[in-house]
Point group: C2
């Protein structure tokens, strides 16, 4: 594969474009803002995200014209916040995606029905499973920007697509795991945002390292419960594909979900926190989606319940944590 | 239970004595150094560890006379580094422990045969399983000193002993899990020290948060493999009893195993590192014990192998990590 259209201009999109262009894959790149597009085409720098990274302009063509970018390559990579994905898709003519392969790296449930990104793409554009792939893994964009060693999971039911994608993303600092459990990997990527939020709340409430470890241990269990209920439990969950991003988000100071949760834990309201942060915290929407999913599946997931009650029912975070303390082991 | 003899004077012992004395359990406490004993009896302060904690001297009687302390209560709690445990035990007359109940909180394999602390107590003193208990959990002593919320696991095959011990340790900031899987809990407590060392090495080698998450994900898998091989796998591993201490040690800057590993990662030799640190890093001895155990069980455990080859075979840490990178997913 030598060409990919990338849709989305955030830090994770920028990190992925860095890898692709280093691997001499030509990237057609849709971003919303003209100032980003110009800085990228002129100097290979995204002024808004990972601006310390200089991208190779020989392999890069940015544009604010979504339809144009979608036409330019036969593989499309969507890297946008889940909350914006439905409105973005509503502006796309489904005919433009006919026969194309779609990769998503969207870490949240989509739309009012809380469907997985891959399921949304299937429903909305009629893209079959063999034309889809998902990217996941412990992927803090900043570290990819710095070329620090990490692992990425590429997931698809289509083995030849996996084999095509591997060399596009593999590099000296990036080990690639190939995987077929699209649904499980997507749920793990979504759930980890809720964990990040709740760990942030714990930090904001001044809990220590010991409690954080209890929280994360129980989060791993909740994820396991969820994946078992979704019948994907035969897989090894203790690997970077499922737990990598969960652990990064729970522990890394870079995480925006954790920062969001920390402000909530310190007593700010959801509205104040949303105003204070310029980035979207995926965990906010993911909480609602997964709360509903857990309810539908009849699962008791105390960490998700805590996030939901604090963020959506506006319960006091201190008393919800007292309740949580009693519901984890 | 109203009286316990505590053997060992480090930070974890001090934290446990804090909890016990707060719960009005009378503590007879053996410490090696006279200056510690005097400061504790006079002012309730251990000058060497957690010196910010003021213990209640009404419930405390410290002494450098081991035999005296062993005679004073019918329940003995051993909280010493695993490396010192055999030599300590060799000075104890087994008759002194006749009929007594023994609790251990020793996070390493013991002696040249690398046996579990509880097994060593059984062999050396003829103490049956129903007279034994083990303490575990995510237990950074400093946070217990500060009264920060945490969870502790008390483990015994004897339910009435568990019920007796619960009120001795339960408190406002300490939730108690009772457990019967002594062997699995002990192995988890030992293995986590090796993980702490290897995470420290990664930090010293300047790996980032992403890689650390990959490492810890794989560590959870290694622990699972080990526990399955030991036939304790029917238990829920994703809880604070098994993973709590592993996560604290892997991520907390307080961890001495992590500090030890970090110096190794930065290029210091084992000898230089041992000289630079005044505390014993349990992980050093645990590495040898678990390496042998994994070998005996025929398990492939890349994280343990890495620790062993660096610490005992004196292989270069950089090249061992390149190898490790390829052996984890």
């Amino acid at each position: 594969m030598t060409e990919i259209s990338v849709i989305g201009g955030g830090s994770w999109a920028t990190a992925l474009v860095k890898i692709l262009t280093e691997n001499k894959v030509r990237v057609f790149w849709y971003l919303r803002r003209q100032v980003q597009v110009e800085a990228l085409n002129d100097e290979g720098i995204n002024p808004d995200y990972l601006s310390f990274v200089k991208l190779d302009t020989n392999y890069l063509q940015a544009s604010t014209d979504l339809n144009l970018v979608l036409q330019q390559a036969s593989t499309i990579l969507f890297v946008v916040p889940s909350a914006h994905f439905p409105s973005l898709c509503s502006t796309i003519d489904p005919n433009l995606l006919q026969g194309k392969k779609i990769i998503t790296s969207i870490k949240g449930t989509v739309g009012e029905d809380n469907v997985l990104p891959s399921a949304f793409v299937a429903q909305h554009f009629g893209v079959e499973a063999y034309r889809q792939a998902v990217l996941a893994g412990p992927c803090h964009a900043e570290e990819i920007g710095m070329g620090k060693k990490t692992y990425m999971t590429i997931c698809s039911a289509n083995d030849s697509f996996l084999q095509q994608l591997r060399p596009c993303f593999s590099s000296r600092y990036l080990a690639i795991n190939l995987h077929t459990d699209l649904c499980g990997i997507e749920y793990a990527a979504i759930y980890k945002n809720v964990v990040g939020l709740v760990c942030g709340m714990a930090k904001g409430l001044n809990y220590g390292d010991n409690f954080m470890a209890v929280l994360v241990s129980n989060a791993i269990y909740e994820l396991q419960l969820l994946l078992e209920a979704l019948h994907v439990s035969e897989n090894r969950i203790a690997c970077s594909s499922y737990l990598g991003d969960l652990l990064v988000t729970a522990y890394s100071p870079h995480s925006r979900n954790r920062s969001f949760g920390e402000l909530i834990g310190r007593g700010y309201s959801v509205e104040q926190t949303q105003n204070a942060m310029s980035m979207v915290a995926e965990g906010y929407a993911a909480t609602q989606g997964l709360y509903q999913t857990a309810k539908d599946l009849g699962l008791n997931m105390p960490i998700i319940n805590t996030a939901y009650r604090v963020l959506y029912n506006h319960m006091a975070v201190t008393s919800e944590f007292k309740l949580l303390e009693r519901n984890i082991i």
